[in-house]
């Protein structure tokens, strides 16, 4: 680096007359500094605008694709539950009635639909009853069967049955399916779509809020209309309970020990560095650990929320320990002095004074840690939570060992499926996940604002 010696005329002589300069006109240096500053502001503004546009784009694409998942087309028709077909033994025993498969129920629905269309005077043209069954979801027969098996007294009566419309019919009303695509599609036909229009006009078919999206289990590849988040929400909930019950006490105990009791030496420094590093370890690594330890070594069941919860606990621990230690550090030493000064033991000082004062910070850290765990996908893929699960897990504690799904994994799973109806489902599930995350983060912010202390 070379420095240029100031030239003679650059340094005004002490006795040189001052150049009169108006305050109203900025001199050259000031003008260039001001220009620099306004350029810098402009860069900042551009950055913010770009970030906001991205966010708007993200939200728009998710909501425009996902909101239709919360509405669903239903066909409501009276179905006569013929005892002769459904209960061949005639004794109303659900075990024997179970021998009638969904095919039998499907036929019933087809007949009921035909009769209802006739009654309403709707011309079905060339369509056969088999074609008519294609108007309703393949899941409708299963739903009807579950309904009858759950309540055999319905036998012989006529029930008002609300059947899910077929995914293609639903897609037609959501703008996903058109007459042109239907003509090339072997799962539907333009005739069916035209019939659907007539049924809407006759009040047999309508679109309404789809509570099933939040309560129903996943459905197979060809039935996007029946797929729901029920199992995934319960699985995620179970995992969060496991994480909360394990990570909070272990994390707080570890932080309190390290911050208040442990001697400050090379070992605790090493532990501290490692905790910081663990927080940055890619989550899939925890998945491998969970696979080798919890499943292969401890022989816990695959796909179970308990394993998912344990893996996510490992992942969340450093993310709770770090903010907890920060919160403990933020408690002023004068409080510790005061407590020790009146003869409180170290433990009393911590439990009576330091920890309660640090609690808002601890809870904020915990909630944010939980929110991260809720959205975590990679480790769950490795422990088999990506499996197709249609059975709801049982009640805790044994339910923790039943197979379940999880929200982010369900989203991942749905994006892999072929039927375009699942794009809508996946986006809808993202909305559900985002709502959970926003609620949790808002709770964290409220806690922090409300209990923030100033000394």
């Amino acid at each position: 680096m070379t420095t240029v010696p100031p030239t003679q005329d650059a340094v005004p002589a002490a006795d040189a007359p001052r150049v009169a300069h108006s305050l109203f006109a900025p001199d050259k240096r000031t003008a260039s500094r001001n220009a620099q500053e306004s350029r810098f502001r402009a860069y900042g503004l551009v950055a913010i605008v770009i970030a906001l546009l991205m966010l708007v784009w993200l939200l728009f694409s998710i909501f425009s694709a996902g909101l239709p998942a919360f509405r669903q087309t239903f066909i409501e028709i009276p179905v006569q539950l013929e005892a002769a077909v459904l209960d061949k033994a005639g004794n109303g025993n659900p075990v024997e009635m179970a021998s009638v498969t969904t095919i039998g129920y499907g036929k019933l629905i087809g007949r009921a639909l035909t009769a209802e269309l006739e009654a309403k005077g709707i011309d079905i043209g060339e369509m056969t009853p088999k074609d008519l069954v294609g108007m309703v979801s393949e899941n409708a027969a299963a739903d009807l069967r579950d309904m009858v098996l759950a309540d055999p007294k319905l036998l012989g009566t006529t029930v008002q049955f609300k059947a899910l419309a077929h995914g293609r019919i639903d897609g037609y009303f959501k703008g996903r399916v058109t007459m042109e695509t239907a003509a090339r599609d072997n799962m539907t036909s333009p005739e069916k779509l035209m019939l659907a229009d007539k049924m809407v006009a006759a009040g047999l078919m309508e679109m309404r809020f789809n509570a099933g999206f939040l309560t129903m289990p996943d459905a197979s590849d060809k039935r996007p209309e029946a797929a729901g988040l029920g199992v995934a929400i319960i699985g995620s909930l179970y995992m969060m309970v496991v994480v909360l019950c394990l990570a909070l006490p272990i994390g707080v105990a570890a932080s309190v020990y390290l911050e208040e009791f442990a001697p400050k030496n090379r070992w605790t420094d090493l532990i501290e560095v490692n905790i910081a590093n663990l927080a940055a370890v890619p989550s899939i690594v925890y998945g491998i650990l969970g696979l080798s330890f919890f499943i292969n070594f401890a022989e816990l069941p695959r796909s179970a929320p308990i394993v998912g919860g344990l893996v996510l606990t490992l992942m969340t621990l450093p993310r709770i320990i770090i903010p907890t230690r920060a919160a403990l550090k933020a408690v002023p030493p004068s409080i510790r002095d005061a407590a020790l000064g009146v003869g409180a033991s170290k433990l009393q000082t911590v439990t009576h004074h330091v920890l309660p004062l640090a609690m808002p910070g601890v809870l904020t850290g915990t909630i944010i840690g939980l929110a991260q765990a809720l959205g975590e996908t990679a480790p769950l893929l490795l422990i088999g939570m990506v499996a197709f699960v249609r059975d709801f897990p049982g009640a805790p504690m044994s339910g923790l060992f039943d197979p379940a799904s999880a929200l982010p994994v369900q989203i991942y799973n749905w994006t892999q499926r072929g039927d375009p109806g699942f794009v809508e489902r996946a986006s809808g599930a993202i909305i559900v996940l985002l709502v959970f995350l926003i609620v949790m983060n808002t709770a964290a912010i409220i806690l922090r604002r409300r209990y923030e202390r100033r000394w």
């Binding site: 400050k264 409080i335 005061a338 407590a339 009146v342 409180a344 000394w455």
Partner: protein, 264 residues
């Protein structure tokens, strides 16, 4: 304005605390060297000296608050009524109940006024029921000259009081465990002159029950409230004696320089 009272009788001649050859190290830094002090019962003893001279360090040795500093090491012997407080059998927690402490900055717990005072008796199990605890709280707040100001709002937070009130609350909290010695580390340095006067008056009253040791930067304060004064300089105890003698007839030239304002 209260005059500087130099002539004050010392009521007792019994030693409460005896310190012999006390050395304190912070890591490799030798902070306190060869300190010998006898602190009398029912007397106010003032420690004066420039910043960093070791007076607060020594004060914190007396109730083993230096134990909380990892790098601190104390040598020598300090006895409380003949018992060495650095004996391995001594539990510092029990010791601190006997030797109360008031800190430089008022540090009430962020709890109610009542809970602040009641905390010590509660953890030491000094009272058997709520009524007794109420009595102790009232008595201590009265002794700390705070009762009349706070009796109607005992449940409001202690941190909501003014600085002077907070410091008197801390004094009430310290005397609630009925200690034998009260250590005060510059208790008035964060207070205005009026609050200072109140606290000083209080210290004078507390003398009838406790042995009070006060660290202060203000020589006027030392002269006003204490009967005995110790002058610390660069880790040494330079001079210790009757307050009157120290201020009017110091034997050591360093003491004289300090009280006349030439060093410090």
């Amino acid at each position: 304005m209260k005059d500087i009272r130099l002539e004050r009788d010392v009521q007792t001649e019994t030693n409460k605390i005896e310190a012999r050859k006390v050395q304190v190290y912070y890591g490799t830094n030798h902070a306190l060297k060869d300190v010998d002090v006898d602190i009398l019962d029912k007397t106010v003893t003032a420690f004066i000296g420039p910043s960093g001279c070791g007076k607060s360090t020594f004060l914190r040795c007396l109730n083993r608050m230096n134990d909380t500093v990892a790098s601190a090491r104390v040598e020598g012997m300090i006895t409380l009524e003949g018992e060495n407080i650095y004996d391995p059998r001594v539990d510092p927690v029990q010791l601190r109940a006997k030797i109360g402490m008031v800190f430089q900055k008022p540090n009430p717990f962020p709890k109610s006024i009542y809970d602040n005072v009641a905390y010590g008796p509660k953890i030491h199990g000094l009272t058997r029921n709520k009524a007794e605890l109420d009595e102790v709280v009232e008595a201590c707040l009265r002794k700390a000259a705070l009762w009349n100001e706070v009796k109607d709002r005992l449940q409001s937070p202690g941190t909501g009081l003014s600085g002077g009130q907070q410091q008197r609350l801390c004094i009430a909290r310290a005397i609630a465990t009925s200690p034998e010695v009260l250590l005060m580390d510059e208790p008035c340095s964060a207070l205005d002159p009026i609050a200072t006067a109140q606290v000083e008056e209080l210290i004078d009253e507390l003398r009838s029950q406790f042995s009070v040791v006060i660290v202060t930067h203000s020589m006027q304060q030392a002269a006003r409230v204490s009967q005995r004064t110790a002058f610390f300089h660069l880790g040494y105890l330079v001079e210790y004696g009757e307050t009157g003698a120290i201020f009017t007839n110091p034997k050591d030239p360093r003491t004289e320089s300090y009280i006349t304002g030439r060093i410090g």
